[in-house]
C-alpha cells in the first residue's frame, strides 16, 4: 500500500508540472479565439432568391466576371496563364467552377458588391495608399442590385459540384492554393509540379514559379508560407479560426478572409491534415496493437514477480 501512496505523490507532482508548462502556459501565451461557426455575421444577409439563368447572363455579360476569371466547367478557359495573370493582378484570379460549392453564399454576394470589405483587406487598400484592389466592385446592371447579385450567386452555385463531390484537394486549391504552396503534397502556387523527364522542362516550370512568386510577393508584401507542416505547427483549432478570420489572430495581415463555408473549411483542414500528418490512421491502429501486447507483457511480468517473491517474504 505504501508503494501506491508513493506512486500517487509522483503522479500528482508530474501532472501539476505538466499542467503548468503545457495547458496553462500556452493559454497565457496565446489568446484564445472562438470559432464563429463560419456564419460571417458582419456581412449583410442574403435576402433575395436568385435565378441562375439571369445570373448566367450577368456573369457572362454586365457583371464582367469572365474578363478576369475563367470558368472551366462552363467552357470558359483562362485567357492568360497564371504567370501573366499574376503580373496584371498580383495573384492569379481563381477559376469560378467550384466557387459556389466552397464559399459561403453570403460571402460571395458581399464579395461581388464590395471585395475589400468581404475579404477584410480594407486596411491595405486605403484611398491614401493609392492601391486599388484588383477585383472591382460590381455597381449593378441597371436593376435591383441585390437581386442581380443573388442571381449571380445562384448561377455560381448551379454550376458548382455538390459539396460532397468536391475533394479536399479541390477545396484547398481554390481557396488557398494560388498563394500557398504545400511542397509535401507537391503543390506549388501555379499547380501541381509534374514529373519531368528533362531537366530543361523542369527549369522552365521552376522559372515560371519564380516569376509568379515574385509577382505574388510584390502583391502580398512577402511570400505566403508553405503550409506542409502547418497542421503540426499551428494545430487544427488555430487554422480553422485563422481561415475564418485571419485578422483575429494576426492583426493587420495581408491575407484576405477566405470566406469558405463550414463544409469548405473542413475540407481545407482535411487536406492539411493529410499533408502534415498522413500517418494518423496507421498510428491509431498500430497503437492499439502495441497496447494489447504491453498489457499482456505487464500481466506476465506481474505473475513472474509474484512467483519469485513468494520465497522471499
Amino acid at each position: 500500500m505504501k508503494e501506491f501512496k508513493i506512486l500517487a505523490v509522483v503522479i500528482f507532482f508530474t501532472l501539476v508540472t505538466y499542467w503548468l508548462v503545457e495547458p496553462f502556459a500556452h493559454s497565457q501565451m496565446h489568446a484564445h479565439v472562438e470559432s464563429e461557426g463560419f456564419s460571417y455575421d458582419d456581412l449583410p444577409p442574403l435576402e433575395k432568391t436568385g435565378d441562375a439563368t439571369r445570373g448566367q447572363d450577368l456573369v457572362m455579360g454586365a457583371g464582367g466576371c469572365i474578363g478576369c476569371h475563367s470558368i472551366e466547367s462552363a467552357g470558359f478557359p483562362a485567357a492568360m496563364d497564371a504567370v501573366t495573370n499574376s503580373a496584371s493582378y498580383g495573384v492569379n484570379p481563381p477559376d469560378l467552377s467550384n466557387a459556389g460549392g466552397i464559399y459561403e453564399p453570403k460571402f460571395l454576394a458581399a464579395l461581388i458588391k464590395n471585395p475589400t470589405q468581404a475579404l477584410m483587406v480594407e486596411h491595405k487598400f486605403t484611398p491614401e495608399s493609392g492601391k486599388m484592389h484588383p477585383m472591382i466592385a460590381f455597381y449593378g446592371a441597371g436593376g435591383d442590385i441585390d437581386q442581380e447579385v443573388a442571381d449571380m450567386v445562384a448561377y455560381l452555385q448551379s454550376i458548382a459540384p455538390k459539396p460532397d463531390q468536391i475533394t479536399p484537394a479541390q477545396a484547398f486549391e481554390t481557396a488557398c492554393g494560388r498563394c500557398h504552396s504545400v511542397k509535401y503534397e507537391n503543390w506549388t502556387q501555379i499547380g501541381e509540379k509534374p514529373v519531368f523527364k528533362k531537366k530543361r522542362d523542369e527549369l522552365v516550370f521552376l522559372t515560371q514559379l519564380e516569376d509568379y512568386n515574385a509577382n505574388l510577393m510584390g502583391y502580398m508584401g512577402k511570400l505566403p508560407p508553405d503550409l506542409s507542416m502547418y497542421i503540426r505547427s499551428r494545430g487544427e483549432h488555430y487554422l480553422s479560426t485563422f481561415i475564418e478570420n485571419p485578422q483575429n489572430l494576426l492583426h493587420g495581415t495581408a491575407m484576405p478572409r477566405v470566406g469558405v463555408s463550414k463544409d469548405g473549411a473542413e475540407k481545407v483542414l482535411e487536406y492539411l491534415v493529410e499533408a502534415g500528418d498522413p500517418k494518423h490512421a496507421e498510428r491509431d491502429s498500430v497503437g492499439v496493437k502495441v497496447m494489447i501486447f504491453l498489457l499482456v507483457f505487464a500481466a506476465a511480468s506481474y505473475l513472474w514477480k509474484k512467483e519469485i517473491w513468494k520465497d522471499l517474504h
Partner: protein, 404 residues
C-alpha cells in the same frame, strides 16, 4: 595459457574462454540488493531501458536524417515522417523518450535526495549520476538542434550567446563555438557529431562508472537501515531467503524491475501514439528562419527551472546564478552535514527543506515557460532567490540534526 579441455557443450566451451559462470554470479546471481526497497529503486532500470530505446530509435533515424541546413528539416518531417515505413514511429519514440527520460531522471534524483542515498560512502554514486545528468542535458540540447526548426535555431542562438559571459563580451568565443556569426552549417555539423557520437560515448562510459560506483557501498534502502551485506548474503545462500535482508539482483530484483518497466512502457507508448505533441514544441515545425524571431523563446520543459534562475536577474548576476545552479547539486553530499542516511521524513527540518525544494523547482519550471511579464517575473525572481536561500541554509539545518 590456461588449461583447456575438450568442451562438453556450447556453454562449457564459452565458460572455459569467457568465464560466463563467474560473470553471471558476480553481475546478477550474487549481486546483492536490499529487500526493503520500493519501486522508486527500479527507476535505474527504467532509465537504462529508456536509454536503450533512444539508442535504437536514434540509429534508425540516423539512416535517413541529413545534417544539412537546406535538407535537415525536410529529411525529418518529410522523408522520415512520410516516406520511410514506420519512420513516424521511430521519430515519435525518440522524441517522447528524450522528454520522458528527464522526468525519470528527476524522479531518480529526488528519490536519492529524499532517502539520503548520496551520503556516507555513496558520494561517487551521486557525482557520477550528476555527471550523467549533465551529459544527458548536452545530448538533449544537441539533438534538439538537428531538425533545424525555428526553436532549434533560436534556442541555439540563445544558449550559445551565454558563452559571451555577460559583460566580458567574449564574442570571439561564441563565434568559435558556432563556427559562424549565427547558427549555420558549421554549427549543425558539430552538433550532429556531438549528438550521435561524442556525447553518447561519454554517456555509455558514465553509465559504467555509475554502475561501478554502486558495487562497494551497495544501494541504500527505504528505511535507511545499515546492515552487513556479507552476513545477510550468507543467510540467503544458506537457503534462509525469508530471514535474509538481501536478495539477488537476478532474478529476484529483476522480476520487480521488469514489472515496473512494463507499467512504465504502457505509459510511454500511450504518449508515443496519442500524446506525442507534449514532447514536441509546435514552433519547431516551422523551418528555421534567421530573419523571424519567435514571440516567445523558451527551452524544453526540463531546462526551464535553470533558465528561470538566469532570467529574472540582471545580465551578469543572472549568469553567475545560472552557473551556480548548474553545479550546486554536485556539492549536495558535502552541504548536507547530517550523519543520517535515512528518509527525509525522519530527519526533522530536512523534510521541509526537501519539499520546499521540490515545490520551488516546479514554480521555477512554470515561470521559466511563462512570458517574463508582470506577476510572473516577480514570482520568478522570488523563486530564484528562494532556491539560493535553500542551499545557504542547508548546512545549518543539517548540522543541527540529531543522529537517529
Amino acid at each position: 595459457m590456461a588449461h583447456f579441455t575438450k568442451a562438453t557443450s556450447v556453454h562449457d566451451w564459452l565458460n572455459q574462454r569467457l568465464a560466463i559462470d563467474t560473470l553471471q554470479r558476480v553481475l546478477s546471481k550474487e549481486y546483492w540488493i536490499p529487500k526493503n526497497i520500493n519501486f522508486l529503486w527500479a527507476m535505474g532500470m527504467v532509465l537504462a531501458f529508456t536509454f536503450g530505446i533512444l539508442l535504437v530509435s536514434g540509429i534508425f533515424l540516423l539512416m535517413y536524417y541529413q545534417p544539412h541546413v537546406d535538407t535537415a528539416f525536410d529529411s525529418v518531417n518529410f522523408t522520415i515522417m512520410r516516406e520511410v515505413e514506420f519512420g513516424w514511429l521511430w521519430r515519435h519514440v525518440h522524441a517522447v523518450a528524450a522528454s520522458v527520460v528527464f522526468l525519470i531522471i528527476y524522479i531518480h534524483m529526488l528519490t536519492g535526495i529524499y532517502y539520503g542515498s548520496y551520503k556516507k560512502g555513496r558520494e561517487m554514486i551521486w557525482i557520477s549520476g550528476m555527471l550523467l545528468f549533465v551529459a544527458f542535458s548536452a545530448e538533449a540540447f544537441s539533438g534538439y538542434m538537428l531538425p533545424w526548426g525555428q526553436m532549434s535555431y533560436w534556442a541555439g542562438m540563445v544558449i550559445t550567446n551565454l558563452f559571451s559571459l555577460g559583460s566580458l563580451e567574449f564574442n570571439g568565443l561564441v563565434e568559435w563555438i558556432r563556427g559562424d556569426y549565427v547558427p549555420g552549417q558549421a554549427f549543425l555539423d558539430r552538433f550532429f557529431m556531438l549528438h550521435v557520437l561524442l556525447i553518447p560515448l561519454a554517456i555509455l562510459g558514465l553509465i559504467g562508472l555509475h554502475f561501478g560506483a554502486l558495487r562497494i557501498p551497495h544501494v541504500n534502502n527505504q528505511d535507511g537501515e545499515e546492515f552487513d551485506f556479507d552476513e545477510e548474503a550468507a543467510k540467503y545462500k544458506a537457503g534462509k531467503k525469508k530471514e535474509s535482508k538481501v536478495i539477488a539482483f537476478a532474478n529476484d530484483f529483476l522480476s520487480k524491475d521488469m514489472f515496473v518497466v512494463s507499467i512504465y512502457l504502457i505509459f510511454f507508448f500511450y504518449l508515443v501514439f496519442w500524446h506525442f505533441g507534449f514532447a514536441m514544441d509546435p514552433i519547431n515545425f516551422d523551418p528555421a528562419d534567421g530573419l523571424k524571431t519567435p514571440p516567445h523563446i523558451y527551452p524544453e520543459w526540463y531546462f526551464l527551472w535553470s533558465y528561470e534562475i538566469l532570467r529574472p536577474f540582471p545580465k551578469d548576476p543572472g549568469l553567475v546564478a545560472f552557473g551556480i545552479a548548474q553545479v550546486i547539486f554536485f556539492l549536495l553530499p558535502w552541504l548536507d552535514r547530517s550523519p543520517n542516511a535515512v528518509p527525509a521524513s525522519r530527519r526533522g527540518l530536512f523534510f521541509f527543506w526537501f519539499w520546499a525544494m521540490v515545490i520551488d523547482l516546479i514554480v521555477l519550471t512554470a515561470m521559466g515557460k511563462l512570458p517574463p511579464q508582470g506577476i510572473y517575473s516577480t514570482i520568478g525572481l522570488y523563486a530564484a532567490g528562494f532556491f539560493f536561500l535553500l542551499w545557504i541554509i542547508l548546512p545549518f539545518i543539517t548540522k543541527s540534526e540529531k543522529r537517529v
